[in-house]
């Protein structure tokens, strides 16, 4: 196995995903196949080969340091699932029931 169920569980935690036992078994099998496929890169000699992270021809581009109008706050709030008085509302950060 290229990856174990426990490792898949660990990665899911990093990605803020949760799987049922049944899903975990399915995903572990599929991840294992995919990781074995990508491991064929091991046969390529990459000694001293630089990395390519992007293929843009752009270098850092500056704009004039002039204030620009931002997005309207009420518009930005339009898609917020829960809000109150112009704030984004979320449940309590610590465990327990929502304070009221």
């Amino acid at each position: 196995m290229a990856i174990s169920a426990n490792e898949v569980k660990h990665v899911a935690g990093l990605a803020k995903l949760a799987f049922s036992d049944e899903e975990l078994e399915k995903f572990t099998g599929q991840m294992d196949e995919i990781i074995k496929m990508v491991q064929q890169l091991e046969e390529v000699d990459t000694t001293d080969v630089p990395v390519t992270m992007h293929v843009t021809d752009a270098v850092n581009r500056m704009r004039e340091d002039v204030a620009q109008k931002g997005m309207d706050r009420d518009l930005l709030m339009k898609n917020v699932p829960e809000s109150q008085d112009g704030y984004v509302k979320v449940p309590a950060i610590l465990d327990g029931s929502e304070e009221e």
Binding site: L14, I34, L41, T52, V55, T56, A58, L76, N79, S97
Partner: protein, 487 residues
């Protein structure tokens, strides 16, 4: 007004001669979409009210006789944000998302007078090659409704191929414009990375994503790219390279053009009928005066593993923003903030998106980074160098777009690895940032075969010129599916 019997120039001609108004053309477009979409299921959202209003406004001011696109309808892939028109990326995560701004390409199409008639189905967040990974519906292939339309821009391809619209926009991260174009027998172009602004394209893999047009003819495709290309202050990776008129010199022919065929693109994994169609295309180009040689892209076979590591890594980072806080879906009955994140993401994302996020998170995690992400980024360099070596001596690369014709709905759904290998011929082009085109080149069992042309960076003109010459010399593009067409 039959999109099968017209191209952009002839539709424009009819508008200018007042054979029909923009409003009449738009209305009949919607009538036809409603009639055919019960079978094709290409559209997720129709933009009927706003489109008709825009059509009337164009009629009132008069169609611009010098602008071929003025007043023509276009469909838009649903990962391109459209102000005040629902944009879902075919995900439950954005089921009710209403953008508050337009993608740059939408502003540009609007300036060109094109009318957005609606949003097109796709694989969720553009991850997949069959449009079966949409959270909402399964789009059908225009030629055979038991087959997939390809993906991820399956809705964009099926809508054009079935004559619902004359053009559409898609996005291509690993083949997502070219492969569905091939499966539906139309022309699909992924421009050079940086040619078109990505501002307002819901990000999947930012170093690979590019928006491009799908049309029924090569020239129509160049006309739409003319409208959407160019540098944009909102996208720092959009290129400062001058944007030519992509139709200029399109009819100049391929005499003296040097074309390369990578032997790796004609290997055993390619369906015999597809290989045969490409061989016929080679003969056509030779007859037209081009020289065609076999070359090698030795690292292209590693394109799939490099892509699945790098694209998934970028996706795992880009999709962190979907956390249930500021927009989109939020899980119900959550106890605390951690619960909001985990439950929202677990309930909001489909399986294919989760697989990519997992693979990307794994590739970037401590202990895996050097062996996976860094290794992939190094092999990407070798793939880029392979292309540079070929383009030192050649004008164009030619091969199949996909190893097979369209497969059956459901056939590969539970076999992600097989689905991934479909992209083997398109992925290297994204990794190197080059422009690529798929155009009709034959049929196998009544299903279209796509020919892929790849040009050097920013040399889309050579690709359009060759595509146009091939189109003029063949009649594959004149064949139409049994469904759709007549308005």
């Amino acid at each position: 007004m039959d999109y099968f019997k017209n191209d952009i120039a002839s539709l424009h001609d009819g508008l200018v001669k007042k054979e029909y108004s923009v409003e009449e053309l738009t209305k009949s477009t919607f009538e036809n979409i409603k009639k055919t979409d019960a079978k094709i299921e290409a559209f997720l959202t129709l933009n009927e009210q706003a489109a008709l209003k825009q059509a009337q406004a164009i009629d009132d001011r008069g169609v611009d006789a010098n602008n071929l696109l003025d007043g023509l309808a276009i469909g838009i892939k649903d990962n391109i944000v459209t102000k005040d028109l629902k944009t879902t990326a075919a995900s439950k995560m954005l089921e009710n998302f209403m953008p508050i701004y337009n993608a740059t390409v939408m502003d540009k199409l609007n300036e060109a007078g094109m009318i957005n008639v609606g949003k097109l189905n796709m694989d969720e967040f553009a991850m997949g090659g069959s449009t079966e990974h949409s959270a909402f519906k399964k789009t059908k292939n225009a030629w055979d409704q038991t087959k997939v339309p390809g993906g991820s821009s399956g809705g964009s391809a099926a809508a054009v191929a079935s004559g619902q619209v004359i053009a559409s926009l898609g996005s291509d991260t690993g083949g997502s414009i070219r492969q569905p174009a091939a499966f539906n027998g139309i022309v699909g172009v992924k421009p050079t990375y940086g040619r078109v602004s990505r501002y307002g394209l819901i990000a999947f893999a930012s170093s690979l994503d590019q928006i491009g047009p799908l049309t029924r003819t090569v020239k129509d495709n160049a006309l739409v790219l003319n409208a959407i290309a160019g540098q944009d202050s909102h996208d720092f990776t959009s290129s400062a390279q001058a944007v030519p008129d992509f139709t200029e010199g399109i009819a100049d022919g391929v005499k003296g053009m040097k074309i390369a065929v990578p032997k790796e693109f004609m290997g055993e994994g390619v369906q015999p009928e597809v290989r045969e169609a490409v061989k016929n295309a080679i003969a056509t180009f030779e007859k037209l005066g081009a020289t065609v040689d076999e070359v090698s892209l030795p690292h292209s076979k590693y394109g799939v593993p490099v892509y699945y590591i790098m694209a998934s890594s970028e996706a795992s980072s880009n999709l962190q923003r979907f956390d249930g806080i500021r927009y989109g879906f939020r899980a119900k009955d959550v106890k605390n903030l951690e619960d909001v994140y985990v439950r929202t993401r677990s309930e909001g994302f489909g399986d294919e998106v989760k697989r990519r996020i997992m693979l990307g998170t794994f590739s970037l995690s401590a202990g895996s980074y050097d062996a996976f992400f860094k290794k992939a980024a190094q092999v990407r360099t070798l793939i880029c160098q392979d292309f540079a070596n070929v383009f030192a001596d050649y004008d164009l690369i030619l091969g199949p777009t996909a190893p097979t014709v369209a497969f059956g709905i459901g056939e590969e759904l539970n076999d992600p690895l097989t689905m991934y290998l479909n992209d083997i011929l398109t992925i290297p082009v994204n990794l190197a940032g080059l422009p690529g085109m798929s155009l009709p080149a034959g049929f196998a069992n009544g299903l279209p075969i796509g020919l892929q042309l790849i040009a050097n960076a920013y040399d889309e003109k050579t690709m359009y010129k060759a595509g146009y010459a091939f189109e003029q010399a063949t009649d594959f593009h004149k064949q139409t599916p049994k469904i759709g067409g007549q308005n």
